[in-house]
Symmetry: C2
Subunit: 245 residues, 2 copies
């Protein structure tokens, strides 16, 4: 509980390597997460080689964590292994569809978070790279992922070489609903978001970007409609190419 | 580490209620999970009312945990709240697309697993209901979920009233790959799956279902091609109806 309460993403790591035995223990234990029909619809590609990190970096918009971390883990939704098992066992697999993709994506994200909790408990620092699904096609090429395998999450991991301030979160009441969903009226939005908007770092961010509101930072700069739409098409293409649609 | 190592899904609960303060603390702490741009693209609907559990049960194929648990949590991918925030702040949101759905689904699954870890650490038992995305449309109706909100995971939670045996997992080497993905040849499949196939409960399962192999239990009974395809169409329809495609 305390580890999770105090956690922060770590983007700078010392040069200390992660012992393979420790990494294996963390991954093996993480696999205790719930999984559909106990099929474990995932694979994890472990990157330690500097050359491979170099190749992966552009897909993650060259965020420095990729080359700076001793270990980069690419967590993949994987129905390939299960499909091969079926083929070897006179069973006719039917997992080349969208539902199966979502089942595998769910499995691997539960595994991913389990891994992160375990790693942090052991004193490691992690950063979750959301860029994985933006440029899934490039990652597939680099890691040689076959049909029915799609990268979903990338975790950079290492011993922390920074201790950043903890970021804010919305108040609990902003995201829980009792019995049914109660949609947000403007007064709710004000109550939930004003504390975040009032933070000095956010005010500064708005100012240096010459925007009127914090929300505009997201809509106009960080996650624009145009970029989202282009990456949606790309991701749907990837799902087709990998055999999930 | 030990809690996760020893965990098992719990499907039977005592009548003891979960104190609202405890539930709130668990959800609030779970929200320390990584989240895209710190937007927290999720909502959680808390069901305690027996009438609401009754209404939710059919969507989960009447699995007894829904009515038997003191608390049922529906974890939803939510871009509605962020969109409302943008609308209240002169920002033009562009999150009605597939990428945004996947971003929100990722956020909420990390939150879900974090919650499960925390709940189990406090002595609660949980069961993950994968049925949520199979019948998302019904759940949307029951919980009154607006556009840009889609249920992704359901967790039943309560104090354990059973102590089931721990289920098996594949050996670690079955799901990790070094530097690049190495596809599975039949010898790999044998090595990874024979221990699972040799378990007495699995042999029994094959026998009573008059199948030849364990894999056929999955392809012919539990997760058939026909059902997967029908549910894929339904889920894609739901994404359209909720505004994500």
């Amino acid at each position: 509980m305390e580890t999770i309460k105090n956690r922060r993403s770590i983007r700078k790591y010392t040069r200390q390597e992660i012992a393979p035995e420790l990494l294996n223990e963390l991954l093996e234990t993480a696999a205790r997460a719930s999984t559909m029909g106990n099929l474990q619809l995932y694979s994890v590609v472990i990157t330690r080689d500097p050359g491979m990190k170099e190749k992966l970096a552009p897909a993650h918009f060259n965020q420095p964590m990729v080359k700076g971390a001793p270990v980069v883990l690419t967590f993949c939704a994987d129905f390939n292994r299960t499909t091969r098992w079926c083929e070897c066992r006179k069973a006719k697999p039917g997992y080349n569809n969208f539902l199966s993709f979502m089942n595998a994506a769910s499995d691997v994200l539960l595994l991913t978070q389990n891994f992160c909790n375990l790693a942090e408990e052991k004193g490691l620092g992690i950063c979750y790279l959301g860029t994985t699904i933006y440029n899934a096609g490039e990652i597939i090429e680099t890691l040689n992922l076959p049909q029915l395998v799609v990268p979903i999450a990338t975790i950079t991991v290492g011993y922390p070489d920074e201790s950043p301030a903890q970021t804010d979160r919305l108040p609990l009441e902003a995201f829980i609903h009792t019995e049914t969903y109660h949609d947000y009226i403007p007064e709710d939005i004000d109550r939930h978001y004003c504390p975040k908007e009032a933070l000095p770092e956010n005010k500064h961010f708005v100012e240096i970007n010459q925007k009127e509101t914090l929300a505009q930072i997201f809509t106009d700069i960080r996650y624009t409609k145009e970029a989202n739409e282009a990456m949606s098409s790309a991701l749907l293409q990837v799902l087709k190419r990998q055999g999930f649609m």
